[in-house]
Amino acid sequence: MIVLKLTDIGKNYKNTGDVLKGVNLELESGKMYGIMGPSGSGKSTLLNIIGTLEKASYGTIEILGNKLEGYGEKELCDLRAKNIGYIFQNFYLNPYLDAVENVMVPMKINHEIEPKERRKKAECLLKKFGLEERMKHLKSQMSGGEQQRVAIARALANDPDIILADEPTGNLDEDNEIIIFKTLKELAESGKVVVVVSHNEIVKEYADEVIEIIKGRIKA
């Protein structure tokens, strides 16, 4: 099933000009996509447009059959909350919350999960990623690899169809890198669309499809 459809997407900034040009993409559920390309080629910009964090200058995006034209701030937030899970290079865990609470943050605005269920669900997700010993730990008490696994659990909190990861292993050692890629691969196999931006050649081993971007254009 096609979950994401980008038609003739472009992005330009006042001071940097064209960053993306004529991008056409169809992303299917159950597949892991790797986005590769030199630094500054527009990988993050593309991911942010897919993730509705940035607006494209032109072109249309369809997510789960909905065209995003005319979507306001509120609709975009709701869409993100329900359907998109984000993973960043720097993890961005809230330093004041422990692992479980961090995973609960997205559930707070999801009325489909009973308040009483939230903690249980968060603990369940953390266990799945081997973090049963880290439930009550703060960001400062966890290693990079552990933080990123908490961040993945948080991205999965509302069971989204789309997982977007921008250089998720950029701050991790090789062992953790493999754990993260394996985890992302499993998520794709479970039926989600997983899009991973990475410099690392290792992404080619895991991705079902590799999309190469050079100077804002997709290489055929």
Binding site: S44, E73, C77, R80, N90
Partner: protein, 205 residues
Amino acid sequence: MQYIINKKREITISVLSLLFWIINLIFAEMSINMLLKVLTAKRTDWFDNMKKVQITEDAFLIKQTELVMETIIIVMFVIFFFSSLTIILVRNLQLKHNLSEIGMFRVLGYNKNRLLGICMIDVITDMVIALPVSVVLSTVIWNKLSKDEMLSFMLTMINDTIWMDILSYVLCAITMMLVAIIHTKFFLERSLKKGVRYMLGEGVA
């Protein structure tokens, strides 16, 4: 924003900001009270009494007394503004603490109104709790200045001075609430934008 989940931290922060509100409101109430008293001096005998004390001295002393009064009022107002700023800053510092945190809330689908709402509820809750406490405290402090007034405060509930106090208190409370709300709105919107940009790897502009 972190305290939306952690109850213990929420309570600590609320107690702290409550304290700030109280201090703030006492200052505000006192300064507005003073201003009102001076403004209405012509109609009450308060200022006349002040003058009577000095009338035995020369005119220079009267002028000097007025000058001192004005200075006090100005100083009080400065304190009032600084303390309101302090409370607003302290309230918002929790948000400012880490811009990327706010950005992350946005990424996770918290819309602007939702974030704003949490802040507003916070500010208003503090107000409502702080109101009665600071009315009592500030009135007591104000009336401590003279034993007679203290007595009259105890004995007669319907008294011009008290109504004046209440009026000035309500005035300053409303002003401060407005300032806090406006500030929160602008501050939050700005940090939301900055926060998302920060998350996207552009650093804080």
